[in-house]
């Protein structure tokens, strides 16, 4: 069964450094998402991406964050200058190309644990 994959599984970085988290969505999916979960807190939506542009973003997703689909398979989240409070588990998700069907299942990756020191 196709799965969303994410690399790396764990990333440790110094405060102020740039990090890129990578995701390979399911191949025929066209909607892509990033979520994060700070330890002990709930999973929070960051951004959704469709047709090579951001379709929705939360207030968490400020100028320090960017997303990109650099080729036909990868979907990346870049944090330009990491802060201690960016430490979290970051989940990528993708969903099928039904026209914004609200009951679309979002398929999640296993997550990347980002630790900012």
């Amino acid at each position: 069964e196709p799965e969303v994959t994410q690399t790396p599984s764990h990333q440790v970085t110094q405060m102020g450094q740039e990090v890129i988290l990578r995701c390979v969505p399911i191949s025929n999916h066209l909607y892509f998402y990033w979520y994060r979960q700070i330890l002990g807190q709930k999973v929070e939506f960051l951004v959704s991406f469709y047709n090579n542009e951001i379709s929705e973003k939360s207030e968490i997703f400020d100028d320090q964050f960017s997303v990109e689909r650099p080729d036909g398979s990868n979907f990346t989240l870049k944090i330009r200058s990491t802060k201690l409070e960016d430490s979290a588990m970051y989940f990528c998700a993708s969903s099928e190309p039904r026209d914004r069907a609200l009951n679309n299942e979002q398929f999640f990756g296993p997550g990347t644990r980002l630790t900012v020191l």
């Binding site: 998402y33 709930k42 939506f45 379709s55 929705e56 989940f91 609200l102 009951n103």
Partner: protein, 113 residues
Amino acid sequence: AQTVTQSQPEMSVQEAETVTLSCTYDTSESNYYLFWYKQPPSRQMILVIRQEAYKQQNATENRFSVNFQKAAKSFSLKISDSQLGDTAMYFCAFRNSGYALNFGKGTSLLVTP
């Protein structure tokens, strides 16, 4: 703003028994969707069951069913004949007109032999 509340941080149930996980939400929208996701230890989240708000009939998927009370804004998950493989974190989630899923904090369910 929509909020999703899961009031049970941890629950445990014996194998073959039934357990109910609670979820309440707050919204002013009339059209929305509700989901339960399961996250086994060290594995990705997978969808367990979904419910459209306009449907009165409660969704059922094998041993998993929901009790959707729209007026009370309640969406509980019932797991019947619990199995060891049901041990996981369970997240209730809400979605209306946007793309984002709004999650609760989760309930950690332990199924014991």
